[in-house]
Amino acid sequence: MKTADVIVIGGGLAGFMAAAVAANHGQKVTLLTYGSGSLPLMSGAIDVLGNTETPDTAIKNLPAHHPYKKIGLKNIDSATKFFCDLTSQANLPYVGRLSAQIPIVTAVGTLKHSCLVPESMDASNLVGKKKIFVASIKGLKDFYAEMLVDNLKSHFHDSNFEVAKIDLKLLGGRDITCMDAAQLLTDNEQPLANELKALNASEDDAIILPPILGIMGSFSRSVVKTQLRAEIIETTCLPPSPPGIRLQRAFIRYLQKSDVKVFENSKVVRGVVEDKKVTGVVVENAVREKIFRGKKIILATGGFYSGGIQMREFDNPVEPIFDIPVFFPTGAENWSNQQLFSDKPQGFSMTGIFTNENLNPVNEDGKILFENLHVVGANLGGCDKIFERSAGGIAIASAYKAATI
């Protein structure tokens, strides 16, 4: 078996990004994935640092142990550019920059602010709209236009809201999710376009929709948009999330074009270690074990959600492949907060691996454990990425750095 330049373990946003960047830099890349990663769960937007108006300056003020401090602003910036190029080539254009936040409308009618936003979700121009239509699609589950309007109204006092009943003849069986509708509408956009045209919305108006405009980039959106005068804006939704899946597909297409060898359903169970170097990883499938050899290994197996970090007993979190020390807060009081939606980070969510500037995992004394192993994405500890809304930014930026080192 040939030795790959880079083995990436994990098929989430960080793993895809690392594989894409490494391939783009001329490396021979093997990507080992198991399960579907967390992209089908995500909103579609890349949050870099949601707690602040200007992420780029706020990143400078982060504490030293924060993953962004190890990654550095330059890499964050390059990662952002690479990501926008990749998605734009895939006809899934993203808008935004590190120095500002763009609002998007959530399925419950709150506003979410994020750095990199799919063009279809950019709600910057909602301010000042005369009339905002919210599409209520008959038979579509999980999208409640009345609730959305009730909550969104408080942000746009000067606009008139109208719930627009749209019938796409979705009924038949039960339980049609946004994902189902997006799939049905792909290459079959006209019924929706016709319904929306009938609203007679003008340039001064906007139409808010659940994210059902196809699953292939922004193709379906363009078909519908050219037939309307008003702006159309997609919201977030409960998983499975079409915007997340569009992004997943954009990456998969890019990796295929770049000759990345993707092995699905490949669960890495341990590493082959020689002299502080990981020379390969052992993959277990239904029948046997197989060794993949690589010069550089990128660990992108995720945090607790994806199983990259696990904890069977209290106060004993582990990284199951390389047994890298996991940093965590001890004791029940520090492990979690009384409030689920708390005004401070959740301890369990800060749990993860600590690294040096090259993203090599380190132990308590800061000693490097494996010279050619780099840790990216949700495996990294030291911050609550959900609380500070940084999961996407850390994923793409750490992946970019690990792939270009």
């Binding site: 419950v108 590493g271 689920l340 939606f341 609550d384």
Partner: protein
């Protein structure tokens, strides 16, 4: 002024049993509850319909009461009882001499305890520890759904004119010359205070009975005794599995539908409102549970919860596990207050008997000689096969019977009509528990639904595998649309409050796959739905609160790292 002959205070099993019994005897009765129904020990328990085996050595009177009521409950509350049977297993570490006493105690109390071989035991309960289990017996234990029993008690009471007011707290008593005239109450949502006139009031407030007593200046010996339980996401046992030893913590497993409940601990607490649970309590329950089922930690824990048993402490009596599980009725005429009774102690299995004895005394005072019929008449009529067949066209087949027993004849009919007429109402709001939108809509409309949690207790939304991840949004939206109470419109608050309620039980068991579910909850609601508003630009990242404190984080010394 609103009037009733009898006001029942407390919406637990005892109070609801009294409401039903009085209503069936033709007494005009009204029940007030300061929270939602069965919010105390009547739902925060194992859901075990005792055979009496647990009391066969210590308290044979209680054991006999249990086995009799057990048989009655199976008859009148057929759809609330899962007749799974029970097993008592003695482990190698348990006292052999106790086994003999127990066998004799069961025989003396009229409880059929059938010895079985270990082979049979392992066949019936494959996960039992081969290492520790030394002997096993089958007994007629069963699982009982406290929520469903409560709604059926109400439906039955309402048929006979009984009334219920939830979120209505008693704040005082109106007495004239030592005689009760009425009960003063406060609406928990509006704050409105008013009086309900009555001849008799029954304090059936369980762990809160002492507080209610104080309002009337009477002393009541009740000690809230907290028990903590763990709900697992799998059906680990087929039977109720009890440890055959002197009653202790963490020694009973009860299967309920697709989950298993393990409990419980016993701890005296000053406040019945204290339903907190801790990591230590969970750890201790798991440790004991592991003795019977060695692979217990491989099962995902859904949540933990606690409730307070209202133990009756007669003057100078024992507390904790040694306290009697029996009950007491006090006529406060002896304390100079004519018309007030207190009923305290007892256990869920015998609530009907307690209610009967209480109502006998009340009816004697009222010169009402109608006999008690609660042991003969089923709680609810059964939903007809024809209605079930109509429903089966739209319900997931597994859900039809569950919904039928949950909803009862009338509401089930209405739900089926919704399903037939409105195709959109066929979607599932809760996939885990198979709850359709039609059912949630119907319950949201109910005048006892003030918050989404009230809808949860009646429908089981959010009580399954995902603990509200998906249904919180849907339920809040349907509630905002259908709810008749003014509280319904604030959908974001209702949604967050619902998820926070789930979080309370998840926090102490935040390990293993439970963390994963929680990260999903947070990803959906904090990231995709942005329910925690940030007001960008107002809060800076440098707020001390939001800066992660790295000194909190230490490396896990149990892992190797270098030593590959």
């Amino acid at each position: 002024m609103e009037k009733a002959t009898v006001v029942v205070i407390g919406g637990g099993a005892t109070g609801l049993g009294i409401l039903r019994d009085l209503s069936m005897r033709g007494v005009k009765a009204l029940l007030v509850e300061k929270n939602d129904l069965v919010n105390g020990a009547s739902s925060r328990y194992h859901g075990l319909l005792h055979s009496g085996g647990r009391y066969a050595v210590k308290d044979q009177e209680a054991a006999r009461e249990c086995i009799i009521e057990n048989q009655i409950m199976r008859k009148i509350g057929k759809s609330c009882v899962e007749p799974c049977g029970g097993m008592f297993t003695r482990l190698d570490i348990d006292d052999e001499a106790y086994e003999e006493l127990w066998v004799k105690g069961c025989a003396d109390s009229g409880i059929e305890a059938t010895p079985i071989t270990l082979d049979e035991a392992f066949k019936l309960e494959p996960r039992l520890s081969r290492k520790h289990v030394k002997s096993a017996y089958l007994v007629p234990d069963a699982a009982v759904d406290g929520f469903r029993m409560a709604w059926q008690l109400i439906d039955s009471s309402k048929r006979y004119g009984g009334q219920v007011k939830t979120y209505t707290e008693v704040i005082g008593f109106d007495t004239v010359n030592g005689e009760l005239r009425g009960v003063k109450v406060r609406n928990q949502f509006t704050g409105e205070e008013y009086e309900i006139g009555c001849d008799i009031a029954v304090n059936a407030a369980g762990g809160w009975a002492g507080f209610v007593g104080k309002l009337a200046n009477v002393e009541i010996g009740v000690q809230p005794d907290k028990g903590t339980l763990i709900a697992f996401n799998q059906r680990i046992v087929n039977h109720v599995v009890n440890r055959l030893h002197k009653s202790s913590d963490g020694d009973i497993f009860v299967p309920h539908g697709s989950i298993t409940i393990l409990g419980t601990s016993s701890m005296s607490v000053p406040d019945p409102e204290d339903t907190s649970t801790s990591r230590e309590e969970v750890e201790s329950l798991l440790k004991i549970g592991e003795e019977t089922f060695e692979d217990l930690r491989d099962f995902r824990i859904l949540r933990t919860f606690a409730g307070s048993r209202p133990l009756y402490i007669p003057p100078g009596g024992a507390v904790g596990r040694s306290a009697s599980r029996g009950f007491a009725i006090v006529d406060h005429e002896q304390d100079g207050l004519k018309g007030l009774f207190t009923i305290v102690g007892g256990k869920f299995t015998t609530y009907r008997l307690m209610a009967e004895k209480m109502c006998n005394q009340i009816c004697a005072k009222l010169n009402n000689s109608t006999p008690c019929r609660t042991a003969e008449e089923p709680l609810v009529e059964e939903v007809s096969q024809a209605d079930k067949d109509r429903a089966k066209k739209f319900f997931p087949s597994y859900g039809t019977n569950l919904a039928a027993t949950r909803l009862g004849v009338e509401r089930f009919k209405k739900v089926v009509e919704r399903l037939e007429n409105d195709p959109e109402s066929r979607e599932l709001v809760c996939e885990c528990e198979n709850v359709t939108r039609a059912e949630v809509e119907e319950i949201c409309k109910d005048d006892t639904s003030f918050i989404v949690n009230d809808v949860r207790r009646r429908t089981r939304i959010g009580m399954g595998t995902c603990q509200g991840n998906f249904c919180a949004l849907r339920a809040a939206a349907v509630f905002a649309d259908m709810g008749v109470e003014s509280t319904a419109k604030d959908s974001l608050t209702r949604m967050k409050e619902f998820l926070q309620g789930r979080w309370k039980g998840i926090r102490p068991v935040l390990l293993g796959r439970t963390i994963r579910e929680t990260e999903m909850t947070r990803a959906i609601y904090e990231l995709s739905m942005a329910v925690r508003s940030l007001e960008v630009g107002v809060r800076s990242y440098n707020d001390t609160k939001s800066t992660p404190n790295s000194s909190l984080l230490i490396p896990n010394s149990k892992t190797g790292g270098e030593s590959q």
